[in-house]
C-alpha cells in the first residue's frame, strides 16, 4: 500500500518518497513480468524520476502485460474505447491496485467536486457495466464517482447514440434532489445534453439545480464540432445554480486511478502519488521548457507495469505556483500528437 495516498492529493510533494515507491514498484514488475523485464533488462535503480523505466502507451494495445506476485489476484481487464478502428488498450486489473485506484480517483475528484453525496447521472447505457471480466474505460471513469453517489442513473438507451437520452428518466430523477453529479465523455455530454433540445419540463426542472458535470475523453471531437470550452461550459450550466461547475479531466486508461482535472486557472495538477514528465519525442530527454510527450507515473499499479506510461499526448510543464492554491507540479495538455496515414501499396 502507498503511504502517499494518505496525504491530500495536492499537498507539498515528497519527491524522495515518490521515487522510493516507484523504485519498489519497478523492481516488483521486473521480477514478476517477463515481457517488461525483457524491455528494461539493464535497469537497476533510478536517482531521479526521469530515470524510471516507462512503457509506451500503444504497447498496451499490442501485448497483455501481467505481473505475477504473491497475493495479487488479476480480476478484470479494463479496455479503452478504441477510436478510428484502432486496437483497444487492455489493462489487467488486480485486487490490490483496484483498491488503490479507487482511493486515488476519489481523492482527486473530491478535491474538485466536493465530498457531498448526490445522485450520479451517467451519459452511458447500463449495459456497459455488464460485461463479465471486462470493463470499458467509460464505465470505469463513471464508476470512479460512485463513492460520491447516492444512486446511479444511466441516461442513454444506446451508449453510442447521444440522441438516445432518456428525458423521461432525467425528469424523474431531477425531482429527487437539488444537487447532482453528471459524468460523460466530452463529446457525448455535449451532443446528448449541452447541444440537445431538452423538453420543456426537463428545462424547468433543471433550473436552479446545483450540478457538477465531470467529463473526459479529450477535446478533439469538440474541435471538430467547433465548440470551444467557454461555449461548452456555458451551455451546460445555463440556468443552473451559480455554484454549478464543469470539470474536464485528462486521464489515460493505462493510468487508471489517476486523473488530471483542469483547475479553475486552466492547468492540470499532479497529485503527490503521481508524477508527470515531458519528453522530447526524438531523444526522449526530459524537457522542462518546451512541449513534448507526456509521461505519467503513479504508485498504484501492481498487477501489470502500467505505473509509468509514455503517452501520445503532447504537453508542457507549467512552472511556478497556481492561483487556485493547489501545490506541486502542474502541466498544460496540448492535445494528441498529430498523425498522418501511412502510404503503402496493395495492402492498405
Amino acid at each position: 500500500m502507498s503511504e502517499l495516498l494518505d496525504r491530500p492529493p495536492y499537498s507539498a510533494r515528497d519527491d524522495n518518497a515518490f521515487l522510493a515507491e516507484m523504485q519498489r514498484l519497478t523492481r516488483h514488475h521486473l521480477e514478476g513480468c517477463p515481457a517488461y523485464a525483457r524491455i528494461w533488462p539493464k535497469w537497476k535503480c533510478a536517482g531521479t524520476a526521469e530515470e524510471l523505466p516507462f512503457l509506451h502507451v500503444d504497447l498496451f494495445k499490442r501485448l497483455e502485460f501481467r505481473t505475477v506476485a504473491a497475493g495479487l489476484v488479476h480480476e478484470r481487464t479494463l479496455r479503452s474505447s478504441s477510436t478510428s478502428g484502432s486496437a483497444a488498450s487492455q489493462i489487467v486489473l488486480d485486487n490490490l491496485s483496484s483498491r488503490l485506484q479507487a482511493r486515488s480517483a476519489l481523492a482527486i475528484l473530491t478535491d474538485m467536486v466536493g465530498d457531498r453525496q448526490r445522485p450520479l447521472l451517467v451519459l452511458d447505457d447500463a449495459l456497459s457495466l455488464r460485461q463479465r471480466g471486462v470493463v470499458s474505460a467509460r464505465a470505469a471513469a463513471a464508476m470512479s464517482l460512485r463513492p460520491l453517489a447516492t444512486g446511479i442513473h444511466f441516461l442513454l438507451r444506446d451508449a453510442n447514440d447521444p440522441a438516445s437520452l432518456k428525458w423521461d428518466l432525467l425528469a424523474e430523477v431531477l425531482a429527487s434532489s437539488e444537487e447532482f453529479l453528471v459524468y460523460g465523455f466530452s463529446s457525448i455530454l455535449w451532443l446528448a445534453w449541452g447541444a440537445a433540445a431538452a423538453p420543456e419540463d426537463v428545462r424547468a426542472k433543471l433550473r436552479g439545480k446545483r450540478i457538477h458535470f465531470v467529463h473526459s475523453g479529450g477535446w478533439k471531437k469538440m474541435e471538430a464540432l467547433r465548440v470551444d470550452r467557454a461555449r461548452f461550459d456555458d451551455a451546460l450550466t445555463r440556468d443552473l445554480h451559480p455554484a454549478s461547475r464543469v470539470v474536464d479531466y485528462y486521464g489515460l486508461v493505462e493510468q487508471v486511478g489517476v486523473v488530471y482535472p483542469l483547475c479553475e486557472h486552466g492547468v492540470r495538477h499532479v497529485p503527490v502519488w503521481a508524477d508527470v514528465l515531458v519528453r522530447d519525442p526524438y531523444t526522449l530527454r526530459v524537457v522542462e521548457d518546451q512541449s513534448g510527450q507526456i509521461q505519467s507515473m503513479n504508485v498504484l499499479a501492481h498487477g501489470a507495469p502500467y505505473h509509468s506510461v509514455l503517452s501520445e499526448d503532447m504537453g508542457r510543464i507549467v512552472p511556478g505556483g497556481c492561483a487556485c492554491g493547489r501545490s506541486g507540479k502542474r502541466f498544460e495538455l496540448l492535445g494528441r500528437m498529430p498523425h498522418a496515414a501511412l502510404r503503402g501499396c496493395a495492402n492498405v
Binding site: A35, D58, P281, M337, A340, L342, G344, C345, A346, V348
Partner: protein, 391 residues
C-alpha cells in the same frame, strides 16, 4: 488510317506499333517534364517520392518497355504483326497507395489507351496530384493533349454506381488492393470481356550475403526501406544475412545505424518517432535485440528467423540464416527479393529463386522500381492488341 506507325525489330520479327502519337515524342515529353519537377514539389509528395518519379521519367527508362516488348526501333520494315491499343484500361487504386499509382499512370500513357483511374476516397491521392501537375506544367504537346482527353480520374467510395460503369467500359482491368477488392472488380465484369490483372497484398525481403554488405549496399537498403517502411509492398520487411552469424548481423545493424544520418538527413514526423519508441519496446518484449536509428526514424533489430515479427511501420529485422532456411521462411505472398550477393551470376541464386514463390529478384537498390512486368504478369504488354500480318 492516320495513326503514326513505329517499327521495332526483334529476333521474332518486325512489329509495327500503331499509337495515337509517336512513341519517341511522348517519351521525350515525359522526360522534359522533369525540368518543371525540379522546381516544384507538389503538396503530398515527399522529396524522396518526387526524386524517384523524376528518375522514373528518364527517357531511357520509359523507352525500355518498348524495347523489351517489341525489340529495337527501326525505320521501317516488313512487319509480321501489328500492335495497337486495346481501347480502355481501367485502374483501381486503394487508399493511401504509394507511388505505384503515378508510376502505373505513366507507363499506361505509353500504351495509347484511354485510361480510367479510380483513386481512393479517403486519402491524399498521389496519382491525381501528379496528373494535375503534369497537365499544368506540360506545354501544349501531344502528351498533354493525351492526358487531358484520354485520362480520366475519378474518386468515389465503395458502392458508387460509377464502379459498374468503369468495369463495363474496361478492356483491361488493373486492380491494386486487397484480394476481395480485386475479386469484386473482376467478378463483376462480363464474361469474356477484357482481361484483368490483380496486384494484391504482397511483401518483400532483402537478402544480403555475408561479405556483400558494403556501405553502398547498406545505403541503398536504408533508402528503399525508409521511403515506405513495412507498408510498401516492395519495401524489405526483413533483411536476411545469408550465411551470416549473429555477431555479423549485429555489426550490419551497427553500420546501418551509423550510416543512417548520412543517407537520410531529415527528422521524421513526431508520430513516427513515437511509434518507433513503441516498436523498440515491443520488439524487445518479443526477444529482439532492437535499436533505434537517429531521431527514432526506424527500429532495426537482430534476431532469429523464428522470432515473432511485429507490425510496426518502421521496424526492420535482420536475421542471419542459410539460403535454404531463408527460402523456407518466405511467406506465400512474397513479391520482391532485393539482393546483394557476392556473385549474382552464381546459378544457385536462380535455382533458389525458381524454387520459391518470389515474383522479382533484383538488386536492393531497384526494389521499388516499377515496370511493365509486375507480380509475374506482363500487364503492360497486355494493354496492346496484337494483329497477325502477312503482307
Amino acid at each position: 488510317m492516320c495513326e503514326p506507325l513505329s517499327f521495332f525489330e526483334s529476333a521474332s520479327g518486325c512489329t509495327a506499333l500503331a499509337l495515337p502519337f509517336l512513341e519517341r515524342q511522348i517519351v521525350a515529353e515525359w522526360g522534359a517534364l522533369r525540368g518543371a519537377m525540379r522546381r516544384t514539389v507538389p503538396t503530398g509528395f515527399s522529396r524522396d517520392e518526387w526524386a524517384y518519379l523524376m528518375a522514373f521519367l528518364a527517357p531511357e527508362n520509359l523507352h525500355a518497355p518498348f524495347v523489351e516488348a517489341f525489340g529495337q526501333p527501326v525505320e521501317g520494315g516488313r512487319p509480321s504483326r501489328l500492335v495497337r491499343p486495346r481501347g480502355v484500361v481501367a485502374v483501381w487504386l486503394p487508399n493511401n497507395v504509394s507511388l505505384l499509382g503515378p508510376l502505373t499512370l505513366i507507363l499506361l500513357t505509353l500504351t495509347g489507351n484511354r485510361i480510367l483511374l479510380k483513386a481512393g476516397s479517403r486519402s491524399d491521392d498521389l496519382t491525381g496530384a501528379f496528373l494535375a501537375f503534369a497537365r499544368e506544367h506540360l506545354p501544349a504537346c501531344p502528351l498533354r493533349s493525351h492526358l487531358e482527353q484520354y485520362v480520366h480520374l475519378e474518386v468515389f467510395a465503395h458502392g458508387d454506381e460509377r464502379q459498374a460503369r468503369m468495369i463495363e467500359q474496361a478492356d483491361v482491368r488493373i486492380v491494386f488492393g486487397s484480394g476481395s477488392a480485386a475479386a469484386a472488380v473482376h467478378g463483376a465484369a462480363a464474361p469474356l470481356r477484357g482481361t484483368g490483372f490483380s496486384f494484391i497484398d504482397r511483401q518483400s525481403q532483402a537478402w544480403i550475403e555475408a561479405g556483400a554488405d558494403t556501405g553502398e549496399v547498406l545505403s541503398h537498403l536504408i533508402r528503399v526501406f525508409a521511403i515506405y517502411g513495412q507498408a510498401g509492398c516492395t519495401s524489405p520487411r526483413r533483411v536476411v544475412l545469408l550465411n551470416g552469424t549473429r555477431p555479423q548481423a549485429e555489426d550490419l545493424r551497427s553500420r546501418m545505424l551509423e550510416l543512417w544520418p548520412q543517407v537520410l538527413r531529415f527528422q521524421p514526423p513526431v508520430h513516427v518517432a513515437s511509434a518507433n519508441t513503441m516498436a523498440l519496446q515491443w520488439a524487445a518484449a518479443l526477444g529482439w535485440d532492437a535499436a533505434a536509428a537517429i531521431h527514432r526514424h526506424a527500429v532495426i533489430a537482430v534476431g532469429d528467423l523464428s522470432l515473432e515479427t511485429i507490425d510496426a511501420p518502421m521496424f526492420l529485422p535482420i536475421c542471419p540464416a542459410t539460403p535454404e532456411e531463408a527460402a523456407r521462411q518466405l511467406p506465400d505472398n512474397i513479391q520482391t527479393l532485393g539482393h546483394a550477393f557476392l556473385d549474382p551470376a552464381d546459378p544457385r541464386w536462380l535455382r533458389l529463386a525458381a524454387a520459391t514463390p518470389i515474383k522479382r529478384l533484383v538488386p536492393i537498390a531497384r526494389m521499388h522500381h516499377f515496370g511493365p512486368l509486375w507480380d509475374g504478369q506482363r500487364f503492360w504488354r497486355q494493354c496492346f492488341e496484337e494483329i497477325e500480318v502477312q503482307l
